[in-house]
């Protein structure tokens, strides 16, 4: 029974069926199999014979998998449009996080440091928490997004190339982008905050990108290596 369900789980996930749909399907199949076994036992069969008969009645993995796979409504978005999930979404999320971090920096500068020419000065009190949120978004977003990419790819048994489509650009951008904050003269005029990728110091940026890539990709790589060692469960 466990072998059938494990086999079925792998087939469905690799075929792109959403993990939540797979989980529900397998749970109901396990219940159904228990009912069938009970039915066979009540018909007078021994335990082993009842188990075999119940498995036969439930159907073969091919048929059970096909019934789910051919219904497109159960397909996960990471299988329907992997370029969007692994390629586009991480960049949009990263841009959103950077925009949020920039807004926090800009508004915090106006609220807590209105007399200062730069927000990059020692801060105290509630400003620490406020600016801390911005820092969390700025430094944490690439890591969280990278780990999320790995998690989605692992759950869906995606081809290893897809998570790299997201992890590499996120690491490159996160490693290279720099924040600037300048108060335009005359004093008291506009507070300007922006981000760019300066060409000077690209070697350092690249090193930083490699660090981010390693931190975000390592859990996924470990997962793949661990799976590759399991018998009958090759990595996707």
């Amino acid at each position: 029974m466990a072998m059938l369900l494990n086999d079925l789980r792998e087939r469905l996930l690799r075929a792109g069926v959403a993990p939540a749909s797979v989980r529900l399907y397998l749970a109901e199949l396990a219940d159904h199999l228990a009912d069938l076994t009970e039915d066979e036992r009540q018909a007078g069969r021994g335990r082993a014979e009842a188990d075999a008969a119940a498995l036969f009645r439930l159907g073969e993995a091919d048929g059970l998998a096909k019934a789910m796979i051919e219904r497109r409504q159960f397909q996960a978005w990471s299988a329907r449009a992997p370029w969007a999930i692994f390629g586009l979404s991480p960049l949009v999320l990263l841009a959103g996080a950077y925009l949020g971090a920039g807004l926090i920096l800009w508004s915090g500068w106006k609220m807590f440091l209105s007399g200062a020419d730069t927000p990059f000065v020692p801060i105290h009190g509630p400003a620490v928490v406020y600016f801390g949120l911005g820092k969390l978004a700025y430094f944490g977003a690439p890591l969280l997004i990278g780990w999320a990419i790995g998690l989605i790819a692992a759950r869906q048994r995606s081809n290893a190339a897809w998570p790299m489509v997201g992890l590499i650009p996120v690491a490159l951008i996160a490693g290279a982008v720099q924040v600037h904050a300048v108060r335009s003269p005359p004093a008291g005029a506009a507070y300007r905050v922006w981000m760019d990728v300066p060409l000077a110091g690209m070697a350092g940026a690249l090193l930083h990108s490699v660090e981010i890539f390693l931190i975000t990709a390592t859990p996924y790589v470990i997962w793949r290596l661990a799976r590759a060692r399991l018998p009958d469960r090759p990595a996707a």
């Binding site: 749909s21 199949l29 069938l36 159907g59 048929g63 059970l64 019934a67 409504q73």
Partner: protein, 121 residues
Amino acid sequence: MATRETNPHFMNGVPELLILRLLHQDEMYGYEIVQAIQSRTGAVITVGEGVVYPVLHGLKRDGALSSRRKTVNGRTRIYYCVTPAGSHRLADLAATWSTLTAAIKGMLTGGPNGDAVKRPA
């Protein structure tokens, strides 16, 4: 090992119709549904035991069914029942199926424009 006899080609859309019909009367869980289809069709129609769940999940996703978890004899089961949208779907499917079967019956029995099919001697 022998393969189980189902009705693969003829069954397109039929499990959905039968399930909606059954659940229109009572809430049931998957195993009950398969048994009910077998017993009420005199085992003429056999739905693959495990194949019923993709149909149930699909109908639920379409809003034709709702479900709830219920613990019976220490086991948690998922019971399904028809929603108002499912009732409409059942009525449409039943009408389509009735028209189709009437047309096929007409063909087989000769109808107004043909001869009845006779069993070869």
